[in-house]
Symmetry: C2
DNA sequence: GTCTATACTTGGATAGAC
DNA sequence: GTCTATCCAAGTATAGAC
């Protein structure tokens, strides 16, 4: 899948050495940590290199510039996120499909909170590197998935809502638990959110959304089965 | 209201000259623009000064450091945001109170999108300057407003949901239209969101939320009355 | 492919005349 | 209170030996 971030695949030769692959992976992991915590401009290549356990010059040997590293990191993050929304299919029941989408996105928020923040920071700052992706592949994917939603509406399976805004709302509700987790934790009187906070969060979001768009039957069983939490107030 | 950002009010003498006030205002406005578009680290004091129409040295005459300017800006933004959530009162009907909250927050998102982004960027980057505020005044305010929600629940006016997470969800749903407006506009195939996008957005969020938490009666009339849009699908 | 030393640039902050 | 010139720290990127 080409996400429109790199103009062509010929930028990098397909055949790469083992050492290169290993070091690039180390650098990318360190970069996710540093960029995720500090943001693009506050992050320094020296710190990324230090976290990756190598001198700064080595980092620049593998990634020509700081921006180069950042864009490749964005690309890997977007690829990961892509799959969660993509999985909406017309041969499923909306309750099952949507609750799975919510669950997948919140699970990603839990496992890779820093990746989510890098994406969020990029969008908040005007999406300077992602606009082509947003206007191209993402828009096309949302258009396609919106037709699935429209079909469910025609079949009377849910309220007549605007499908695109349904996605905007789902993205907002799920990503807030990663991007704004410090605010949420602070208000809850915790130091940070733990695994035990995310599962009920996913259930809360699922129930709100399903009930809010008029999917009444089936979701309770679905939510209860998928959740590790005992049935309890939203 | 002391939001816990400045240790004590004696930092600055209460009595200030007219010239100082005028120039500080110009700088703050320029700073909201520059910090909002570029983020704290990418923003430069030279650019803020230029937008304010003065040499860099003057800016530093009024604000000792870049961080100083940024924190004062954050303070003014938080004060503005504060009032939208604060307005929840127990002597109101939940439908009216919550739809007013959504409307107020989305209206702020429309009028001051850059202010919203500055706040969002601060939280996404770990809230280094706002943690005391989040753990103190904000937490206390949410606790207090949660008791209002609890009361509504006891009275059977809405579903038994977790009041704090209700706020988290409302914040996420409303702020996404400011913080992620570039993504939303891109997916909608627009260059940017206009006034005509925000009013129906507020209605969509209100309907989802009210229906989602079991407030069935009354919201249709409320939403229709407050909206400039003709009744139409969510 | 690795590493030390360093060149070069940007940007925050101030000195000191007016 | 204003402004020019400047200092200095930080950070990206590279040269060149190994």
């Amino acid at each position: 899948m080409n996400l429109g971030l790199t103009p062509n695949a010929a930028d990098r030769p397909p055949r790469r050495g083992r050492i290169r692959l290993k070091n690039e992976t180390r650098i990318m992991l360190a970069a996710e940590d540093v960029f995720g915590r500090l943001g693009y401009h506050a992050a320094t290549t020296a710190l990324v290199a230090q976290r990756a356990g190598m001198p700064k010059a080595n980092l620049h040997y593998y990634f020509k510039t700081k921006t180069d590293l950042y864009v490749k990191l964005l690309e890997s993050i977007v690829t990961m996120w892509w799959q969660a929304t993509e999985s909406i299919r017309s041969d499923e029941e909306p309750a099952a499909a949507l609750s799975r989408l919510v669950r997948a996105k919140i699970e990603l928020s839990r496992q890779r909170p820093l990746a989510s923040r890098i994406f969020a920071a990029e969008i908040v700052s005007g999406a300077p590197h992602l606009l082509p992706f947003l206007r191209g592949p993402l828009r096309a994917m949302v258009e396609e998935k919106s037709r699935v939603i429209e079909r469910w509406i025609e079949l009377g399976k849910m309220d007549r809502v605007d499908p695109k805004h349904l996605f905007f709302q789902l993205w907002a509700l799920t990503q807030t638990y990663a991007d704004f987790s410090d605010q949420i934790a602070a208000v809850l009187g915790k130091r940070r959110l733990t695994r035990q906070d995310y599962t009920p969060a996913a259930d809360r979001v699922t129930r709100l959304e399903l009930k809010g768009i008029g999917i009444g039957a089936g979701e309770r069983a679905t939510v209860a089965r998928r959740s590790a939490e005992p049935p309890h107030p939203v």
